[in-house]
Subunit: 479 residues, 2 copies
């Protein structure tokens, strides 16, 4: 109706309502590529006004990954308004970006026909993940609304355990017989075909029983003579067994810098491929899991309820309370000594605290080295000795510092000696425990990230308190 | 000379000396894809015997990534034997797999001509990294031994700051003018040419001033009609500015599932590309850094000396000693109260320890959420409130538990009340501090992973000791 902007309004930003789509796209993200709060507010305002046309325009300005973020930032009431507005296309891309409780929540808001259509557009790995998140009755509805071919492919993907190569892989894969030439392979791709993945990087060369023999990257294919045999130009591949744990798969991709790898079933036949873009997410998840587990956090989703988060942290804290009480009972043993000399209670926590910190350093290094396989039978002993040597050296250094501080504070050379001795004992114990606890848990098949710190601090608190108060009772009070 | 195996030796494994190369390759790795200790021992034995021919055979059985691991597992004396045996080809691939002090050490063992040749075979990003690790005089020697084109490309890569897109990118990139057809692009690739990267996934479509307009994945190129214009089939690209931090680059790759992205200089001209295989390493490094930093560990290399590790941990422990002494001085204030009632010293550490644990849970979640950008202006306030609510709920729960334990232990309802009050106070303070400390550090431009925990435990120890001993002095001893 009116000209968007003239001399008179220069300097005044145009009201967001009038912004063309390109400007909205720019506005959607702030400088750090995270969703712009101003944009989220525009969505909220449009939803409050019931302006669905406006909401559509805003949604269209977003990349699926940002749309997924938006859904996470909004409360459920707003999601109820926005999710039904999404096309099957937008849904299929956005659902792949979501996970956990948030995805389950979004799935509940989608009509079954629209959902079947959206899942039909996904690659088989993403489709299986989404179907897995559906409740049993809705799963039946959605599967029934699909083409038989699609249903079978999803059901077969779901037959593999969660977090295995079979779940991670896509079944769409480009395989070519070993006797084909480069030209034949290119013609096959140019002819298209439903079995081709949407995006792929390698042609897998297979023998007559469909076992992978090698791979030809597309860039190699394009640069080779059309008459060359695939079996001549192909490069060796690392086969991923279908039942391999995804953490293992990620390790192999990282180690050998793979872009894609063929997945084979028990007999060695090619059943799918895993591409590196799926692995990036796995690597993020696995190291996040370790990091959070070390701190005793098992919840991850933004959309977990306060009750859920409280509960998930409660158990870790309860275990810690148990160990804190156990450590306190060590102090309880020396209650009489403290009654005679209250200064002991003042210095008592220091060696224990230092042991906890030093031991946590060691535990973290070991947990990380186990996860990245930097620590193994070949270098284990050297690593154990190194940690103990570090513990001894820092133990001696801090014994001196601690002795000096105690002497300065309480003017008692004997107490300074005791504090220093307790420090060196506890830092050495911390190094040994910090090494052996995660290694032992790993050996026994437990996750070293999840419980090492609790065991460690129990040891360092008890040893810290016992060595200081015990030495004090022995030397200072019985003489 | 003798048949490798006959009926008589069945069941006896052939001595490793006689194993064909394929069997050696199998033997090199154990089931978890880590280097097999038995294989490392074979290398050590061959080196001890000075059997260089045997060492060559063993080296050839290894993938460069495993050869890099082997060099890490061996002591310097063995590296001195093995490194000179490596061909320029093996060196070029192995050096790209190494980093830190180990790479510097290996570089010292390589003859300059061989090194120049090895670097000449690397992609520009890896080559620049290696040259950057050389000491000044060797750098000059090696650069002088290179072709001028190569030298210029490395010097230009080194002109970008460490850990930026400019350093991460490879300069070899396939760009095609927007008016080309698919057929022309394919012909260009088939014609080959030195400017083409060895492995690539996308053709970047550029305008006459060399600014990227879009990209055509090779698989799309192969499936499109040869007559189609690139500008018609191309897909949008996310441009990476050359000065962008690598953590930011990794975030964008992860978020938008990119396989490769064009890197542009200030005017927007295409200067290189980053591929996802480089990003996998960055993601590993960045999350590893955060995880280790949370525990106060700054060393990472396997090959750091014991003195180096001791020193790097010493500073964190010294800071922790300072905060432990500060917390102890809080206890010192209440020395008279403890002298009157030694039981106070027994219960005193519990609330502080629980606060430290609960606060560390919050800090870890916040640090991780900041790193993955899950936490931003749009949802910050909600997240803060959620953590405080969780702190209040767990605070109340543990106040009850703590009160019950104290009553059971010391049969004093007043002491139980005090212990419970101290617990709820400290868990709420822990939630607030655990949230605000990393957010504040981040806001001020510090790394929240590196120092949050120290600040946090200072707060929770001091508040824990002060609230319990203060309340006890106030309620129990002054009445």
């Amino acid at each position: 109706m009116t000209p968007a902007n003239d001399g008179l309004t220069a300097g005044t930003p145009a009201p967001a309502e009038d912004l063309p789509v390109e400007d909205l796209e720019d506005l959607a993200l702030s400088d750090d590529y995270a969703l712009n709060p101003a944009f989220v507010e525009m969505v909220v305002d449009a939803a409050d006004l019931g302006n669905l046309a406006r909401l559509r325009v805003l949604i269209e300005a977003l990349h699926p990954a940002d749309l997924a973020d938006l859904l996470g930032f909004l409360s459920r009431g707003y999601r109820e308004v926005i999710v039904p507005l999404l096309t099957a296309d937008e849904l299929s891309e956005t659902l792949s970006e979501l996970d956990g409780p948030l995805r389950e929540d979004v799935l509940e808001l989608v009509a079954p026909e629209n959902l079947a259509k959206a899942i039909g557009e996904m690659e088989s790995d993403d489709a299986a993940d989404v179907v897995d998140d559906l409740e049993a009755d809705r799963r039946g509805q959605v599967l029934a609304a699909m083409s038989p071919a699609h249903r079978i492919s999803i059901e077969s993907a779901l037959s593999y355990a969660d977090e295995t190569a079979g779940r991670l892989m896509q079944r769409e894969v480009l395989a070519a017989p070993q006797f084909w030439t480069v030209g034949q392979a290119i013609q096959h791709i140019q002819a298209g075909g439903d079995d081709l993945p949407e995006l792929f990087f390698d042609v897998y060369v297979v023998d007559p029983s469909n076992k992978p023999l090698g791979a030809a990257p597309l860039s190699l294919l394009l640069r080779s003579s059309p008459d060359a045999l695939l079996s001549k130009i192909m490069e060796p591949v690392t086969e991923i067994p279908v039942e391999m744990d995804q953490e293992e798969v990620a390790y192999i991709f990282d180690k050998y810098h793979l872009i894609s790898a063929p997945v084979v079933e028990v007999g060695g036949r090619l059943v799918g491929q895993i591409t590196v873009d799926d692995i990036v997410g796995v690597i993020q998840d696995e190291s996040e899991e370790d990091m959070l587990a070390l701190a005793g956090v098992s919840d991850r989703g933004r959309s977990d309820t306060i009750m859920g988060v409280t509960r998930s942290r409660f158990w870790w804290l309860l275990i810690n309370l148990g160990t804190a009480i156990l450590a306190s009972s060590v102090i309880g043993v020396f209650q009489d000594s403290i009654a005679k000399l209250a200064a002991l209670a003042v210095i008592n926590p220091i060696a224990a605290s230092m042991g906890g910190n030093a031991g946590t350093q060691t535990v973290t290094v070991v947990v990380r080295a186990l996860a990245t396989r930097e620590l193994n039978a070949a270098n284990l002993l050297a690593a154990v000795w190194r940690e103990i040597a570090v513990g001894v050296m820092n133990g001696v250094a801090f014994a001196v510092v601690m002795g000096a501080v105690t002497e300065f504070w309480f003017h008692s050379p004997i107490m300074a000696l005791i504090a220093g001795l307790a420090m060196v004992i506890n830092l050495i114990v911390a190094a040994i425990a910090g090494m052996l606890i995660p290694l032992g848990l790993d050996k026994m098949g437990f996750d070293p990230a999840a419980s090492s710190v609790v065991f460690l601090t129990t040891v360092t608190d008890c040893v810290g308190f016992f060595s200081f108060l015990g030495l004090a009772t022995l030397i200072l009070l019985h003489h």
